[in-house]
Symmetry: C2
Subunit: 217 residues, 2 copies
DNA sequence: GACGTTAGAGACACCGGGTGCCACCGGCAA
DNA sequence: TTGCCGGTGGCACCCGGTGTCTCTAACGTC
C-alpha cells in the first residue's frame, strides 16, 4: 500500500478509488473528481495548452484512456457539473410564478443559481479565470453557454407565447447571458467584489437600457 | 497545360495561381481565395467535421502544408477577412463625432459595417450558417468576437473616460454584440428578412431595456 | 546568358487531442 | 465453478497543426 513502484497492476485503481468514494456515491464520481482536481491544478500552474492529457492522467494516477472516459474532453475538465448548473437554472425558471415579470424572473434565477457558498468561491475563481483567460477554453465556453441560452429563450418564449426562435426570446437570452459573463469578468478582476452584487449591477444596467448613453454625453 | 495527370511537378502551382491573380493583386491572395472557396463549398456540402484538410487542399489543387500557410486553421477558412471587418468597425467608431450619443454611435457602426452588397449576401449567408450551426465554428467565433468586444469597449471607455475593463464599457460591448449575433440568427432563419432591419430591431429592443418584460405580463 | 537570391510550394516527421477496439481484472450472482 | 459486468489500461488509428528540409520558378545583377 505504499507509493513505491509495486507492480500492483490494474487492480490498484478500483481499490483506491473505492476508498475515496464511499461517502460520495460511486466509483465513477470519485475518479472523475480526482481527474478534474488534477487538471485544474496543472492548468492554473502551467497553462491550459502546456498541459497534456498524459500529464493529467499521471497526476490523477490513472491512464489517458480513462481520462477521456470520464471527462470527455480536455476542456470539459474545467467545467465540473455544468449540466447540473443549467438544469438548476431551468428548474428555477420553471418554478417562477407567472405573477413576477419575465425579466426580473430571469435575473433572479441567474443570481440564485450563481449564489455559491463562500467555501466554493476559490475554486470558482480558478475555473472562471481559466475559462475567461485561455483562448481554447473561452472558445469552448460558447458551446456551453448555448445550452443556457436555449433554456432562457425557452422560458421567455413560454411566458410570451412566442416561438423560442423569435427575436425577443433569443435576444433576452443572449443579452442576459452577456451581462452575466461580464459581471463574472469584473468580479474576477476585483478581489473584493461580490459576485451577486456584480450580477445585479450588470442586470440593472441592462434593464435600464444604458440611460446615460442614449442622450448627449 | 491540360488537366490530365501530366507530371508537371511543383511548378504547376505558381503558373495557374499567376493567371488567377493579376487583376486581384498577389499570388498569395489568389491561392488563399481558392482555398477558402473550396473549403466553404465542401463544408456546406458535407459538414465541417466531415471534411479534412486534405480534402480541401485537393479540391483547391494544392497541398496540406500550403493550406495552413495561407489560412492558419480549419476554422479560419470560413471567416475570410474578418480582421479587416473589425478594423472597419474601429475606424467608424473613431470617426464618429462626440456629438452623437454613445449607444447610437455603436449601433450605427454595427449597421454600417454589416451593410453588404446584395451580391455578397449569399456567401454571407453561407458563412454565417456554418458559424452558427457547426459547434466547432461556434466555439471559434468567441475568439473572433472578443476582438470586436475590445474595440467597442475601448470606444465606450474613451467616450466615458472610464477604464476599458470597467463594467459599463464591457457590458455595452458584449450586449450589443449579443444583439448583433441574435439579429444574424433571425435573419438567417428568415429568407425574406433584411439584415439591417434585423440589426436595428434588436438594437432598439436592447436600448429600451425590454419594456414589455419589466412589468406585469 | 550565367549567376545568386528569394518567395512560394511540397514532402516528411512529429506532437497532441480524441476514438474504437480488445484484453484484463475484480466483484457478484446463479 | 461458471458466467456476466463495470471499470480499466494498452494499442492502433485518425486528424489538426507545426517545424524543417528541399525544390523550383521567377527576378535582378553582372
Amino acid at each position: 500500500m505504499s507509493t513505491s513502484p509495486v507492480p500492483a497492476g490494474p487492480g490498484a485503481g478500483p481499490d483506491t478509488a473505492r476508498i475515496l468514494s464511499r461517502a460520495v456515491g460511486g466509483v465513477r464520481a470519485a475518479t472523475r473528481a480526482r481527474i478534474e482536481q488534477a487538471a485544474l491544478e496543472l492548468f492554473t500552474a502551467a497553462g491550459f495548452e502546456q498541459v497534456t492529457i498524459d500529464d493529467i492522467a499521471a497526476a490523477a494516477g490513472t491512464s489517458r484512456r480513462t481520462f477521456f472516459r470520464h471527462v470527455g474532453s480536455k476542456a470539459d475538465a474545467v467545467w465540473g457539473d455544468f449540466a447540473g448548473h443549467v438544469a438548476r437554472l431551468a428548474g428555477l425558471l420553471a418554478a417562477a410564478g407567472d405573477d413576477v415579470p419575465v425579466l426580473p424572473a430571469v435575473f433572479g434565477a441567474y443570481v440564485e443559481v450563481n449564489d455559491y457558498a463562500a467555501a466554493d468561491l476559490p475554486v470558482l475563481r480558478q475555473r472562471m479565470r481559466l475559462i475567461l483567460t485561455e483562448p481554447a477554453l473561452l472558445a469552448h465556453s460558447q458551446v456551453r453557454y448555448a445550452d443556457v441560452d436555449r433554456v432562457v429563450a425557452g422560458y421567455v418564449a413560454r411566458r410570451r407565447g412566442e416561438d423560442p426562435a423569435a427575436l425577443l426570446p433569443r435576444l433576452v437570452a443572449t443579452a442576459t447571458r452577456a451581462a452575466a459573463t461580464t459581471a463574472f469578468e469584473v468580479w474576477l478582476g476585483d478581489e473584493r467584489a461580490g459576485l451577486s452584487d456584480a450580477l445585479r449591477t450588470a442586470f440593472g444596467q441592462l434593464a435600464e437600457g444604458f440611460p446615460g448613453l442614449r442622450s448627449r454625453a
